[in-house]
Symmetry: C2
Subunit: 479 residues, 2 copies
Amino acid sequence: MAMPEAKDDYHAVRRQAGLAALKDRFHNRFSQAPAVREQHAHTTTWHANQPPDAVVFAQDEDDIVAIVNICAEHGLPIVPFGAGTSLEGQVNAPFGGVSIDMSEMNKVIRVSPEDLDCTVQPGITRKQLNTYLRDTGLFFPIDPGADASLGGMASTRASGTNAVRYGTMKDNVLSLRAVMADGSVMTTARRARKTSAGYDLTRLLIGSEGTLGIITELTLKLHGIPESVAGGVCPFTTIENACNAVIMTIQSGIPIARIELLDVAQVKACNAYSKLDLEEVPMLFVEFNGTEAGVAEQAALFGEIAESFEGGPFKWESEPEKRNALWQARHDAYWAALQLRPGAKGIATDVCVPVSRLAECITETIADVEACGFLAPIVGHVGDGNFHVLPLVDMDSAAEVEAVEGFLSRLAERALRMDGTCTGEHGVGQGKGKYLPKELGDPAVAAMIAIKKALDPENILNPGKIFPSGYAAGEPVIA
Amino acid sequence: MAMPEAKDDYHAVRRQAGLAALKDRFHNRFSQAPAVREQHAHTTTWHANQPPDAVVFAQDEDDIVAIVNICAEHGLPIVPFGAGTSLEGQVNAPFGGVSIDMSEMNKVIRVSPEDLDCTVQPGITRKQLNTYLRDTGLFFPIDPGADASLGGMASTRASGTNAVRYGTMKDNVLSLRAVMADGSVMTTARRARKTSAGYDLTRLLIGSEGTLGIITELTLKLHGIPESVAGGVCPFTTIENACNAVIMTIQSGIPIARIELLDVAQVKACNAYSKLDLEEVPMLFVEFNGTEAGVAEQAALFGEIAESFEGGPFKWESEPEKRNALWQARHDAYWAALQLRPGAKGIATDVCVPVSRLAECITETIADVEACGFLAPIVGHVGDGNFHVLPLVDMDSAAEVEAVEGFLSRLAERALRMDGTCTGEHGVGQGKGKYLPKELGDPAVAAMIAIKKALDPENILNPGKIFPSGYAAGEPVIA
């Protein structure tokens, strides 16, 4: 969006003054080195890298307040940066501004084993947290593949393989602290397990992708490490049979902890990347948590269901090392898939549909992939009706890029037609805002915009994310 | 708040025109009969009855849209009315206006057993819904004692005895439709089990007590009726021992379905009201859901824990009729308690604290009750750290009223000191707004007000609820 030059000059001068003020305050924790700036913009997927003007390495909440106040005064956009593992360009800086690196804010503030909860800073990663918790017999279950930061996971309403059992981030955060656009520090809730004290500000911030406030503390629900964990892999003759086994498993009320689908392309990719020797057919990875008797009961029921859909034999993996290797391979599926076509970009997708429509949605999607001639492995959290198809695209080929754009639109439309969503867990970011009006309707989008304007009237918090149209700090949310 | 007379006249004329327009549109579904108006204001507890100017009996969403448009045009407050079972004056009309009776909007729109979900109108009650579902093998678990409407339960973020296992309304609603203050109809989400598609408008409406939008449809998660349900009662020597048994049960990760505390006064009340013969000591009512083996395992573990806190013998009730009678007695606890002092009002409270502080909070509260000389039975969803102490007060005695006001303040302060909330499940309504700034801090209250103003700038939706200060439709949210 072109602006008159005089205004550009005014903005540029104002913003330079803001950057100078930040440098004054943060000294060697302020960087404008091109490599640092680029590293803090988005690199995981196909979104182009849009670096911020500067990166500040925050060490505590006071730092965040100072940054917000300086940025608000000078019209500088603010982009919170956790581990940089988001997939929809959430850490890009399309309007420049300041990236706040949270990696030094990675402390566990308190753990209360008796209440099954803890409070952490936003920069801690899920693996750091679970390592810290190991001696308590507790763990934090949400695992979005990458070793993401907890602040980032809350911001995108992340989930992952365990969500079918433990829910998503929205179900596992008791309370947040966040610095708001006016520099105030908001606490969303107390530490009680439930509350009816006014609007649910906790859930409002979860999934807001840094556009409403900058999370500085999270109080999380923890879970006891199950007495018994067991699982394994189960081959199927067709994707459809595998999906139908999933549907039946969910409908039977088996409290399965994980149930993940890999299609043939993905199984091949994992075999190559993670040195496995899985049979190269559609495959479910499953895990059961519970007491020893409970786990055995669940596994037996699942085995029967699989058999009734021409699946099996269900190969039980009782050695923890081998089971962990399987799940590591599952978590590395994205990287494994990329190796199928070196040099290509993987276009991450994450539609989610009611589980009864899952087989239909995946089957139609595979037909679409084949018609397009893409290499596009499929992997998914199928217990939630959520799956990832990853077209591997040569971004230098205009024809391929155009074809994949058509494919992405059709995929989103297909999910919506089945009463699903364009994004089950990655968030809207820079790429999916265009689907929101169709998915939720104009009144919902209008409500989101009204809330955004009410809480961040100058639009300094992560502008250019969630909302479809382009706009800059100081500009209306929708230009 | 006194307003200049000319303004009063203007408002009065405008509102009369609005009422006339509603009468024109709804004919015999519009009533200004004093009995009907009073019946739709708050009568369950101690809040004074503040009737609306009129009641409209809505039959569909179009009716709601018409009512909102007419009320918006004429500055008439709107108060949604489900079953009238809320406990904090949520259906009172302190600024007059129109109560929308939802009882005729009580249809089940669809049930999808394969997705474990259904869509209902807001006026259906939880018992109506579960009766409807009986043949599907599914049920909706949230049970706030009273046979509340689902719309009302969502609006207050209700929970009840099953929340320790199944969560609260926030965990069991997939999506809502709601008429917003501008007459638009908003859908908050699709039917996918999880989504990251923008702000969580579903959770924003849940618990908003009708102040942001009027719910016209709810899509709910359903659960399979457990293969086996078992439970019973377990006596304890002291309240503290009972609480400590609860804490240990939760910490042990036993997936208990219900665990409810009754103190001696409440046990006596239930014996008298529900014709039971329970031993008159502190008592836990417990229930286990699962497979037959799972339930037996859980019950054995609980029995051991109870014994280690001088509890027991745990009396297992295997006959469904007797078990149901026990739970009916539990649900009737409020009415039973009222009979302890005929003519007195029961002041319902519902603080909730981290479970580790539960014994301490209840013990201090009992000491306070004794110092005050109140009759105040205690009953609670102790697995969540949530309990109800119900002072029975002669509202004609100024001294008693003053004493109970002091007690309520101390109770709230005590819960906050223990990092809890002033309301675990009843909502803020008319009585608890004054605690919000202390509980959440000014930035959170400011954010709630900003959201309210953004979505209902004329303040026509249920004014006088949640936010502390008085204000009328057409006036700012905080005067």
